[in-house]
């Protein structure tokens, strides 16, 4: 690349011409792929999405799920999504911001959903994750527990589990833990 040296001169001229220009914001490949995911979202009526930082920051958003069946009918659950610049090579980080009595979501908002961690694949997308989260509310699963107590109750005494969920969503204590109203 002996031309390099001539190029060098040309580049210097360009750089001089470019002086005083505002730095140009680049979009990472991850942002572009996310843009595609978001523009193709097809959410069920029970799920909605919002962008707290406005229309130009898609990398941080929130999803609200209002289950229309099952134990969690009537509740409103907020999830935060944080997407990395190398998305979809890496799954988004998802946390549940609403304190919930749930076998697969712990009291700190960690979510045990296989496609968020060990089973994430780049062919999956944001829509898949949201459906996965929705599924956790219609089909809570005691076999992959994060909240051990809730899982044991669901397994051994579904009636009690149901009333515990109701109590937590209405705002109140289940055992030693206080839950804020989310209905």
């Amino acid at each position: 690349m002996i031309k390099l040296f001539k190029v060098k001169e040309k580049q210097r001229e360009i750089a001089e011409n470019a002086n005083g220009k505002a730095p140009v914001k680049k979009q990472s490949a991850g942002e572009l792929r996310l843009h595609k995911d978001i523009s193709e979202l097809n959410l069920p009526k029970t799920c909605s999405i919002s962008f707290p930082n406005g229309k130009d920051d898609l990398m941080n958003f929130e999803v609200t799920i209002r289950p229309d069946e099952g134990y969690y009918l009537g509740g409103t659950f907020l999830f935060s999504f944080q997407v990395s610049p190398i998305y979809p090579h890496e799954a988004p980080k998802v946390k549940c911001k609403t304190k919930v009595y749930h076998p697969n979501i712990d009291l700190e908002g960690n979510v045990c959903l296989n496609i968020l961690r060990e089973d994430w694949k780049p062919v999956l997308n944001i829509n898949t994750i949201i459906y996965g989260l929705f599924h956790l509310f219609t089909q809570p699963n005691y076999e992959d527990p994060l909240n051990h107590d809730a899982a044991a109750v669901l397994r051994d005494n579904p009636k009690l589990f149901e009333s515990n969920v109701r109590r937590a969503m209405a705002g109140g204590y289940v055992g030693q833990t206080f839950f804020t109203r989310c209905m």
């Binding site: 002996i2 390099l4 750089a15 470019a18 978001i38 406005g54 229309k55 712990d106 960690n110 780049p122």
Partner: protein
């Protein structure tokens, strides 16, 4: 010609640079001029001053490069000293870039190395435009992806979609993990770029959270439990800082307790650091092999004295020794290094009209397009909340929405209707506005 050359410090290098050959690069012009130009004009940026970076700086300086710069955001830690040979015990805590530059300059006369103690994202694009070649000694996909995007942003294509050689910013990338390593040459527009082949990187191992919470089976499970679950439980709201020794110690102590509870062996402080910070084991000699290959490729690209690696070398010393060169191919639709579809427009075309045109464009045939321009979402078809926020742009001229730039890159996503089949697609467009003076000579990356 070699006989005519004045005696030189670079006697051995002269054998490569001053004499013609048959196995040389396409534009090789041997001679004193080449050697001197190489020393005077070739400017190389080394990204990373760690295990690979130390080797790269030393190798490049000893290969006759005189103008080097190095960028690294880290400070020296005690654990670096076994392989990052430019650093001494008394350097612990000092910026790697500064110490590495100083040490190589002390040892190799005539070389000038400018250190940059900062994040790669802190430098603007003009900083990177100044270098002829960028050599990467990094340990993360994110950082490689970022530098790749920067280097590819200088690339321009002519109206026939051929890359313009004078806008190419070659990269040489090295990486190691234990006994394994790779070295590759990336010439944007010619070879695949980093993004074309991102699938080469294995996904990071992530344990299921419920395994961590319920059925830990090994030391790493105990450490990740303390790091991902227990930390939040105890320090509600306080973020874990992997560079804070107190935080790391806390995670280690909790992991030990967890391991005792489940009768698991093997939790140590260094394993805790390794798991939490995702540290990959590094071996000095693997770094040396890979960096040496990268430094030689850098010399070959700059001088043309030999053909370059084409384009991906893997080195595997785990069982016996296997090494192989694979010629990966470009993704012609790559969003980062590909030419994109050329679209010429009048400055009066509104965003709505533009979206309609994409449906008819023979190379696109895209309906329901959403448009994004340098991080600004000009129009989003979905979800409704974003559609509403961007709808008012539809009646505005695209030229105005693109800040009256005569030509630039846009990205569109939508439904592609090809051969009666519908598929969703994401495309890069090269938009040129007609009737703006001096367009052809403008720099695409700067977006003048």
């Amino acid at each position: 010609m070699a006989d005519a050359a004045p005696p030189s410090k670079s006697r051995d290098l002269d054998k490569l640079l001053l004499r013609p050959g048959n196995l040389v690069g396409p534009s090789f012009e041997p001679g004193v001029q080449l050697r001197d130009d190489l020393q005077e004009y070739a400017k190389v940026l080394v990204v990373g001053a760690g295990g690979l970076g130390c080797e790269l700086l030393k190798d490049l300086a000893l290969s006759g490069f005189k103008n080097l710069e190095v960028i690294d955001m880290d400070r020296i830690e005690v654990t670096n000293l076994n392989r990052q040979f430019l650093f001494r015990l008394e350097d612990v805590g000092k910026p790697k870039a500064e110490v590495a530059a100083k040490r190589v300059m002390e040892r190799v006369s005539g070389v000038n190395i400018v250190p940059h103690f900062c994040r790669i994202e802190d430098k603007d694009i003009e900083f990177y435009s100044d270098f002829n070649i960028i050599a990467l000694g990094l340990d993360s996909i994110e950082a490689r992806s970022y530098i790749n995007a920067v280097a590819c942003s200088f690339l321009e294509y002519d109206s026939d979609d051929n890359p313009r050689e004078e806008t190419m910013k070659p990269m040489v990338d090295g990486g190691t993990e234990g006994f394994k390593g790779h070295a590759r040459v990336i010439v944007p527009g010619v070879t695949p770029c980093f993004e074309c082949t991102i699938w080469l990187f294995p996904p990071q191992v992530k344990f299921p959270l419920c395994t961590l919470a319920e059925t830990p089976r090994n030391a790493a499970h105990c450490i990740e439990y303390a790091h991902l679950i227990k930390w939040d439980e105890v320090h509600s709201g306080k973020a874990f800082d992997p560079d804070n020794p107190d935080h790391m110690k806390w995670v280690y102590d909790e992991a030990v307790k967890r391991a005792e509870l489940f009768g698991i062996q093997g939790v140590t402080y260094s394993l805790t650091q390794g798991v939490v910070k995702n540290i990959i084991p590094a071996i000095a000699s693997t770094n040396a092999i890979i960096s040496a290959a990268c430094a030689l490729e850098t010399l070959k690209i700059a001088s043309g004295c030999s053909k370059t690696l084409s384009n991906y070398l893997t080195y595997n010393g785990v069982e016996g020794l296997h090494t192989k060169v694979t010629e990966f191919v470009k993704d012609k639709d790559c969003l980062v290094c590909g030419p994109g579809v050329l679209v010429e427009l009048d400055t009066t075309v509104t965003l709505q009209k533009f979206i309609d045109m994409l449906e008819e464009h023979p190379k696109l045939l895209m309906s329901k397009a959403s448009i994004t321009y340098r991080g600004k979402n000009l129009y989003m078809q979905a979800p409704p909340v974003l559609e509403e926020m961007t709808r008012s742009n539809l009646s505005l001229p695209l030229y105005d929405l693109m800040d009256k730039v005569p030509k630039d890159i846009l990205h569109v996503t939508g439904t592609i209707n090809k051969d009666n089949k519908k598929s969703s697609g994401l495309r890069k467009l090269r938009v040129i506005f007609k009737g703006i003076d001096g367009v052809t000579d403008m720099d695409m990356a700067g977006g003048a």
